[in-house]
Amino acid sequence: MLSHLEYDELEVIGRLRFEDLLTGGSRIFYKTHFLPMLLMQGKVDEMFLSLSSKSGKEYPVLMNMVLSGNSDTPTVDAVGLHMAKRNKYEKGILEAKQAAEKALKENDVLLKMKAELERHQELLEQQLRELKRINKEHVEFNKVLAHDMQEPLRKIQLFAGLLEGKTEKEGVGEEFGSYLKKLQGLSEYSRDLLMRLQHYHSLESRINNFTTGNLEEMIQAAISKLSIPEIQPDLTHLRVKDVRGDIPRLTWVLKELLANAYQFRTQGKPLYIEISSDLIKDNYYKTVQDAYRYTDFIQIRIKDNSQGFPINDQDKIFGLLQKFHVGSGTGLGLAYCKKIVDLHYGHILIKDIAGGGSQFTILLPYLS
């Protein structure tokens, strides 16, 4: 065998390892597959490997190996059979088989794709129709929110005001007056809420054209809008700064999240906020099942040492009109944030940090 490999004994014994005699490809497979098998089960049968002669000629062999000796000095007994002719024959069949399989697979793939395409087209038709219907409803609903529902409330306030003027003049009891005040307060609150809801509801029609912004500048803009001296986030971990989208609205999201951290800061602890950003790969398809395309996303994380949220349900935290802390705003802020991020085909998640604090993660498709 040595002569076939163009070595003499002195060049091999004690100088070369078995794997040194293998071709590159055989070496990888031997070391990642056969050797582990040999080590774990003590033997391997019928390994096909290619040895390489000194001048680089291939020498295909079929080998069996058995682990023997003791644990201190393990040895491997191996027998092999040169199989050049058989290998040539096998190669021929393999090539034919591969060609046949490839053709068949391609044909198969094409047929499947055609069926899939038809199915998708049908689905698309249904979804477009559904979308059209929802859109129409959306517009009508918006009109109701903006006018039809505002009007009666405005009138309630008007009449309550008239009533108030009258009662003041004629001096009806204090109790009566306080009920009137409550009535006025409630209708004012409802009107305000209605206006915000309408604003939230019609957000998609007001989203600006996408441009590219600088994350650090956006954060600075958000900070200066808030002008709360305690909000001084640590920005040393901003590793990616290009953001594509409706920059003013995304800046608003940052502002809202920073304000959130401040509002729910832990009493007696200096507020600490860290904003970091990284480029990560994630599956672009989040709704289509069994579809995978790993693309770049910018991942923005806002971590603070605030009180955190009392529940861990994402849907609830970002849901409409959810309030988790007494006296906190209208319960629309986080829903708004989520809607803005969704309109960018991104994701927003929140997670409590062990030991106090919360972390918002925003994923946005990177510059696409």
Partner: protein, 269 residues
């Protein structure tokens, strides 16, 4: 979909600190058999097979998903999230070092540290970088694999016919160790050996340990040093063990170094 069944997840051990073991290309979770007993008493050990290896559910194989190492990283993350694992110490062999790093880039908060056994971010030589292999070697690898997995008995047509019904891929793999599906393994080899993840190394935030073997032809000293230079919080231990599979060829030394690292990082059971 049942992630635990898909990846044949096995949980053993009496402790609470999690150590997750991820096998490399060409094998399955059984490769950790000599290592796990040393940690069973004090840790919770999570073992699994990638889809297409060992006793995983081959029916869940998706060429697009697993056509990228990110798809494999998704498996790791899904297992962690399904089991609500936290503070995970991930021990990854060979390609699983890279898969573990990718998973940690995506969700760093899940991981406490990475133990990278014989890692390489890129197996092919590139300008200014010695990965150890040329494209030609990898094409040879594909050929050797083909030669080892020919279904000779069913050659004359049935093999081809069978492949047309492949979408379910329901065929059972043999019971033996390291059994694998030919086609899936071919794809896994391609994605393993043709991937270039050098740019991802600086993105890893989780501290890591590199276990570098002597005379490792798959991941050389040079490659190990490259990995260490490009990982922010990493250290490297040079092992006496030779080859590419120290956890099988020299489990004692492997266990010793893992324990030494855990102690140094103050990770107690």
């Amino acid at each position: 979909m049942d992630v635990l069944k898909r990846n044949n997840v096995n949980i053993i051990g009496k402790g609470s600190q999690v150590i997750m073991f991820a096998h490399g290309f060409g094998c399955d979770q059984v490769m950790w058999r000599y290592i796990t007993p040393a940690f069973e008493e004090d840790y919770k050990l999570v073992l699994f097979d990638y889809v297409g290896c060992g006793k995983s559910d081959i029916g869940q194989y998706n060429e697009d998903r697993y056509g990228s190492l990110h798809g494999y990283a998704q498996d790791v993350l899904e297992i962690c999230n399904t089991l609500s694992l936290e503070n995970v110490i991930l021990v990854g062999h060979s390609v699983s070092s890279m898969i573990g790093m990718l998973a940690s880039i995506q969700q760093p908060e899940l991981f406490r540290s990475l133990i990278l056994v014989c890692p390489s971010p890129c197996y092919i030589n590139k300008p200014g970088y010695t990965g150890g292999f040329e494209e030609k070697d990898l094409l040879e690898l594909m050929e050797v694999m083909e030669n080892n997995y020919v279904g000779w008995a069913s050659f004359l047509a049935p093999v081809v016919m069978k492949n047309t019904e492949r979408p379910e891929l329901v065929q059972e793999l043999g019971e033996s160790f390291c059994s694998m599906d030919k086609e899936i393994t071919g794809n896994f080899a391609k994605v393993t050996f043709f991937s270039d993840n050098r740019k991802d190394l600086p993105k890893v935030k989780v501290p890591s340990l590199i276990l570098q073997c002597t005379e490792d032809d798959i991941a050389s000293d040079k490659v190990g040093a490259y990995v260490q230079d490009n990982l922010r919080h990493s250290e490297i231990y040079h092992m006496k063990a030779t080859g590419h599979c120290p956890h099988m060829s020299d489990p004692e030394e492997t266990i010793k170094y893992i324990k030494q690292y855990l102690q140094k990082e103050n990770i107690s059971a």
